[in-house]
Amino acid sequence: MKVLNRSGYVLFLLVILLAPLGLNSRWMAVGTTFLIFSVVALSQDIILGKGGMFQMGHALFFGLGAYMTAILNMSYHVPVLWTVPVAIIVPALFGIVLAGPIVHLRGDYLLVTTIGFNIVFVQTLQNNVFNLTGGPNGIFGLDSIHIFGYDLSSQTDIYYLSFIVLLVTFAVMHNLETSKAGRALHYLREDNLAAESIGINTRVYKIFAFGLGAGLAGLAGVLYAMQYSAVSPDAFNFLQSVLFFSIVIVGGSSIPGVLIGVAIMFVLPEVFRQFAEWRYFIFGFAMILAMILRPKGIWPAKFGKIPAYLTKE
């Protein structure tokens, strides 16, 4: 099983690595979108799947990263590369500060509160606060990224940058799985009270998960801003958060499951463009059906090396 799993990852990465050879520019753009949204969905998985917190406002952190890059680049003429640390740290700090007072809330209340954060965020952008966010139209005309004298502006460049970020995300997810923090999150998700009574500081680890997920989403936001060289409030509204939330749950909060979810949600509509109007109608049915047939997701996550006879209900 493990060999199969590992060769699956190798095959997937090879396909992603070599895909640009056979794709035209439209499909390269679709591929890049897939990579970026995969990072966002996986970072949502850290909070929702690994941490077990019902978070439905993830587009906020994604958008914050994108807007940080856009504002610093357009209003203060900071090169895009230099905005990257800011676009990671600011969303991560927001994640920590916003999570602080709410992580103890019961599941559904947490869900509604995070929806609220997302709505406040989008309305703030739309109202063009401090004349920085560009109002409902957003900001457009960003510079491309320069590294070591190279101008990375072509679609292929952004594709590979996104690929590298996805690899980083895989590494983070893998380390999380095998580290103290990952185990702590696993226990507190299974049973918060039991985790607390064996001495896990659940509050700290929950806030940690929020910070980590938000930071990664912010990094994906930079890629998004580069891909479209524009940002607008509609790209980060509450519907996007709903989609990321659904992808993680339908996927079963495992890496393969989430990737499949992203592919279905964002790549499949490009294949069936003539049915664009039917997109969400069909997705809605698919979500209901997926949950009825596989209540734990299409590819349920397994944790660590716990023998099967111990995890059975």
């Binding site: 509604v112 309305q123 749950i249 997109r279 949950m291 009825i292 209540p295």
Partner: protein, 299 residues
Amino acid sequence: MEIFFQQLVNGLTIGSIFALVALGYTMVYGVMKLINFAHGDLVALAAFVGLTLYEQVLGRSVSLFSVIVIFVLSSIIIAMVGVLLERIAYRPLRDAPRLSAVVSALGASMVIENGIMLLWGARMRFFPADLLPSLSWTVGGVVVSFVQLLIFVLSCLLMIALYFFIDKTKIGTAIRASSIDQDAARLMGINVGSIIIAIFVIGSALGAVGGLFIGFYYRGINFGMGWNYGLYAFVAAIIGGIGNIPGAMVGGLLLGLFKAFIAGYISSSWADAFTFILLIVILIVRPTGILGERVAEKV
């Protein structure tokens, strides 16, 4: 002071609508512990069904009879859709993990919202202006229209009726029992399955009335409006204390007033943000809402 009283009137109108819709959320949450995300879209569907009844079935005839037919038939149709929704999307997931039911609810919401778009088109549709008398009275500079009065009075009557139904009748007692403890209710011989159907019938029908009020009051309706009203109504239910029926009524009216005053004194483009800031503050300070009781989480 004129602005104050005018916004008071407007706030009570919109608040009554929020309250009616919030009742559906709070009853479903009380018994099933599930946020019925599709409820808001049932509200939107009701407005479209009502408009189609008027245009196709009643042949655009303007009379008191038409109005009554629209209200009664739409409520019945939406109640049936609500029962169908429960049967398809929620009943198979009763023993599944919590989040599976949430995603199923989100899926159901997408299906209804986009179903409306596919059936009726994406553009705005308008309720007839002359179906209800366009009377209005001016009291000391404050304008009160007939529609506003009707919405407020009818909502209050419905809520009082519901309150007595829940408080005094046998079915109402069974609903309250099921929302306190499903297993214990089952041991007392209550058929929780039929109670769930009952709350979907009542909740959806009340939501349908709310949807028609939106049509008569604002006149313009579109397929996406369900999310908005649904979200506001859900916030109202939480503010009042989710699962608590009088709480939903109080929460709805308070939220309507809050929104109207924000629109009147600050700016309507900030109304959503302020509403959710209020919600977040309330959840942090008093997570059980205004009328909710503090319930220890089950271990």
